[in-house]
């Protein structure tokens, strides 16, 4: 299928989300769409998939103009979409999920399990996507769930164009390699692919052509041979330094000591299993690992939200056992939660209120139980200036800010009070390149003042960019501590439970990775 967009525009009131977008996807081509959050990528895809109606402009399929009243029309025209957040019914089998919405029946509404199973097997065999049609979706690893989504998208009546929206966000390095291979195979078989991403390495690895969108406009058409810096600056609109400038760490005394930490979940599973970890002042320790291997519980134990079943945690040389989170925060523990919408911000609160969320009880923000709104506002305007938080006013609800600016609110809150140790969990998740650059430089500056930093990230790029030392977590324990010069492959293997000394095995590319942890660790 040859897809062409001509002058596609979408306006929401006075706001133009997409402005005069021209784009051509040739048959069998992998076309990457690069752009920051809010650049208009999702709006564009939603128009293509019939979820939104364009304000003006045309969509042409093989030269014929088409208009979609809904996803059904798009599917009928041969477009399949894999959403960033999977749309699977957890307790249903693979076959049932694939036939969802177009069930195979034997007439009169009686389901035909046989036909459904056969449909899955047919598509899997045609494209070489191994799937067990009878497996229950929620039991599958994230990478396999995504494969179910792909098969579902491909099993439309004549799917020839596949839209993949940020497909690698939730995958392990091995799963990513595998996905990229699947994409290549599909393209070779003649399927066109629209690949939406902001991960430059993957785009370079797989795309045939790259279109960069900024503020709703196409700003560049690049070859995949373009350098990362070139792509990044096209996305952001200015030169971006992807390299974080930092001097070697000057480490001091231990700021975090975790010894033999064990946490048993309500389900009786050991989510942390005798974990040992030390972070010194003046260093950033990167905790690499596939999500769901105990990172969340480790961070929450350090803050005091999870009570360890055994083991010992000392922050700044003091055993924190029995201390409330409020006390630990007051003692200088900084905490950037991994899920800012859930744990970091009260979205209905104003920017100003969120900036003092864990300090509202302290002077000068309140005295004898009365909030001093003047001091709160003063802090807000200071932070907004210092951290370049883009907001109309300190009184705007924080939910009206973009993801990157919301994250800056959290960073500003944690960095505007005395701190000795910082836990930064996924500090740049869902944050655009510009804000990522800013947050990274602040984390390094923080380290240079002598704070110990534990960086928990599922993005290896981020770990490599920032960490002075890398610890790999797997199944609730640290399975290796390496220096940042270690090749990716070694860390990638540690992340799925193989030992660092294993010879690189080509099987990891085709076999399912052996991660048996809850596969839903990646949803957010």
């Amino acid at each position: 299928m040859r897809l062409e967009l001509k002058g596609l525009t979408k306006k929401f009131g006075s706001f133009t989300a997409d402005d005069d977008i021209d784009l051509v996807v040739e048959p069998g081509q992998i076309h990457a769409i690069l752009g920051e959050n809010g650049a208009g990528k999702s709006t564009l895809m939603n128009m293509l998939y019939g979820i939104l109606t364009p304000t003006s402009g045309e969509i042409l399929i093989d030269g014929e103009p088409v208009s979609f009243a809904g996803p059904r029309d798009a599917i009928a025209a041969g477009i399949g979409m894999v959403h960033q957040h999977f749309k699977l019914v957890g307790p249903f089998s693979v076959a049932d999920n694939v036939q969802l919405g177009r069930e195979h029946t034997r007439g009169l509404g009686v389901l035909s399990a046989k036909a459904a199973r056969k449909a899955v097997v047919d598509v899997s065999e045609q494209y070489g996507l191994a799937l067990d049609p009878d497996a229950v979706c929620e039991d599958l690893p994230v990478g396999v769930q995504q494969r179910v989504e792909i098969v579902k998208a491909l099993s439309g009546p004549k799917t020839e164009l596949l839209i993949l929206d940020e497909p690698t966000a939730v995958l392990t390095p091995a799963e990513i390699t595998e996905l990229l291979q699947i994409m290549r195979n599909l393209a070779e078989a003649g399927t066109s692919i629209l690949f939406i991403s902001h991960k430059l390495k993957e785009v370079q690895a797989v795309a045939d052509t790259v279109t960069v969108i900024r503020r709703g406009k196409v700003v560049a058409e690049l070859e995949p041979t373009a350098s990362e810096a070139e792509m990044a600056s096209a996305m952001v609109g200015r030169a971006v330094s992807l390299q974080v400038d930092k001097t070697p760490a000057e480490t001091g005394e231990a700021r975090l000591e975790v010894k033999d930490l064990t946490v048993v979940s309500a389900a009786g599973v050991k989510v942390l299993d005798g974990l040992d970890l030390t972070v010194h002042s003046g260093e950033i320790v990167g905790l690499a690992g596939v999500e769901g291997n105990g990172q969340t519980e480790l961070a929450r134990s350090i803050l005091g939200l999870v009570k360890p079943d055994s083991g010992y945690i000392a922050v700044d040389g003091q055993d924190v056992h029995g201390r409330s989170p409020a006390r630990r925060i007051a003692d200088g523990l900084g905490y950037i939660p991994e899920d800012r919408g859930r744990d970091g911000l009260v979205s209905e609160f104003s920017v100003a209120e969120n900036l003092v969320l864990n300090q509202y009880k302290d002077e000068p923000f309140s005295k004898r139980g009365v909030v001093n709104s003047g001091a709160v506002r003063k802090r807000a305007s200071d932070s907004i200036a210092e951290f370049d938080i883009r907001t109309q006013s300190p009184d705007e609800p924080v939910s009206s800010l973009s993801g990157g600016n919301q994250q800056k609110v959290i960073i500003a809150r944690e960095f505007s009070r005395p701190r000795r140790f910082l836990v930064a969990a996924q500090p740049t998740r869902g944050v655009d390149v510009g804000a990522t650059e800013f947050i990274h430089s602040r984390l390094v500056a923080e380290r240079d003042t002598g704070t110990g930093v534990l960086l928990i990230s599922s993005e290896l790029d981020e770990i490599y960019a920032l960490a002075d030392r890398i610890a790999v977590i797997y199944n609730g324990r640290i399975v290796g501590e390496v220096d940042p010069g270690t090749p990716r492959g070694v860390i990638g293997r540690l992340m799925v439970g193989a030992s660092a000394e294993d010879t690189p095995s080509p099987t990891t590319d085709s076999d399912e990775p052996a991660d048996d942890e809850e596969a839903n660790g990646g949803d957010r």
Binding site: G13, A326, A330, G369, V370
Partner: protein, 427 residues
């Protein structure tokens, strides 16, 4: 959500933005009126409720109903009959709640005093007083994401606490009255803290536990009135002793006319509303209540103690409900409390809080409205069925709780940011 709102709005908006770019006041106002924002939904809910109430008045009146059976031969009978019925019914509600036109005539002729003129208003305020407290109690719990259905029970304990201090102690008025009021608040607060504590420690849902505690309180009241300690020595009826003169809330307007019952409880209610507003918007406690109510997880991560917040919020909520009890047993029922003293004020407080959108100012307004409905209905019976007031309240709250319904009936626009539905978390 915001995405879909934007899509539905976009086509409607486009022509107008093209025609004129600068918004003028009349256009903005017109836009506001046709938008399903919370103020307009409240106003439309009231109008719709009175409309539906009118239909039900027609249906429930035997004579007018019969005129509709020969509508096609003499339509004027049915139409005029219905019109007069609705007009007279709502007029007598108005006269019972706000201003009696007959009395006004007599007042103009010099046959009635200001006191007579104020009688309907005094009744409205009397019935509104306990509702202000119970509405505030439910409202403050709403802000913390808690659904305090137990205001009824907390109020009953407030009645008893104030009553006991009111008759058992012998003190001068300047200390006796405040002490009795505080005793009501303390009793309600302690009883209110129970479901909060249960939720904090065991995770028991406050709705379930506070409903059960309501039953315990109601039955406890029946038993307590019968005990020798509380039972009136002067009566064989199920009625308690009256409180001392020094613990009675002074009436505000009795100097104008003996029958004007409105008392100082109203002033305490307004003070409680101001205090609640201050607490929620200016104090660190209120900051914590709102934060926990909006996002428990982020509050916990910021170091707030969720369980403690639940318990203290429920205690404060219960204390305010307890004040409703104190206002009853030291006010209108200062000569003795019966099993019917609490009426349904605690449950009505839920609807008051919903109508007032859990904001203190709105709650006072809603309590006045419900007080007026109650006073009007009581004074208009038997000409107007007394149930009409309950019915109107029910319909109003039904619409308030379902803004999408009002929006659909009247074809209103979706406001920026979507429809506002008040809800307690955890359901």
């Amino acid at each position: 959500m915001s995405d879909s709102t934007a899509t539905t709005e976009a086509p409607a908006e486009q022509p107008s933005t093209d025609q004129e770019s600068k918004p003028n006041f009349a256009r903005l106002f017109g836009r506001y009126l046709t938008e399903a924002n919370s103020v307009m939904v409240t106003i439309y809910s009231l109008l719709l409720a009175f409309l539906i109430g009118g239909v039900l008045l027609i249906v429930s009146d035997e004579y007018v109903r019969s005129t509709w059976s020969y509508f096609f031969s003499r339509p004027q009978d049915a139409l005029l009959g219905s019109w007069y019925l609705i007009r007279d019914s709502y007029l007598s509600l108005f006269e019972g709640a706000i201003l009696n036109l007959n009395t006004l005539d007599r007042f103009a002729a010099g046959d009635a005093g200001v006191g007579d003129l104020l009688r309907p208003l005094s009744e409205t305020l009397t019935y509104a007083t306990p509702l202000i407290f119970t509405g505030l109690a439910v409202g403050i719990a709403f802000k913390a994401g808690l659904f305090n259905i137990g205001a009824q029970g907390q109020m009953i304990f407030g009645i008893l606490g104030a009553l006991i201090v009111g008759f058992a102690l012998d003190l001068p008025i300047w200390i006796h009255l405040p002490l009795a009021v505080l005793a009501g608040a303390a009793a309600g607060g302690l009883f209110g803290a129970v479901p909060g504590l249960l939720k904090a420690t065991t995770g028991a849902h406050e709705v379930i536990s506070s409903i059960m505690l309501n039953n315990i309180a109601a039955l406890f009241l029946v038993w307590a009135i019968g005990t020798d300690f509380l039972h009136s020595e002067l009566s064989t009826q199920l009625v308690t002793k009256g409180v001392d003169e020094s613990a009675t809330l002074p009436t505000l307007l009795s100097s104008l006319n003996e029958t004007l019952r409105v008392n100082a409880g109203l002033l305490i209610g307004i003070a409680a509303a101001v205090f609640t507003w201050w607490l929620l918007s200016k104090s660190t406690f209120g900051f914590r209540i709102r934060s926990v109510g909006f996002n428990e997880n982020a509050s916990q991560t910021a170091g707030m103690h969720i369980g403690r917040t639940y318990t203290t919020t429920m205690a404060v909520s219960g204390a305010i409900a307890g004040l409703a009890g104190a206002a009853l047993s030291l006010g209108v029922f200062s000569t003795g409390v019966t099993t019917s003293t609490p009426l349904q004020y605690g449950f009505d407080g839920i609807t008051v809080a919903l109508l007032g959108r859990a904001n203190p100012g709105g709650i006072v307004a809603a309590a006045l409205l419900f007080g007026a409905l109650k006073a009007g209905a009581l004074s208009a019976q038997p000409d107007v069925p007394v149930d009409i007031s309950t019915l109107l309240q029910a319909i109003i709250v039904l619409f308030i709780a379902a803004p999408a319904l009002v929006k659909a009936i009247l074809h209103l626009r979706t406001p920026r940011g979507g429809l506002v539905t008040l809800e307690a978390k955890g359901w």
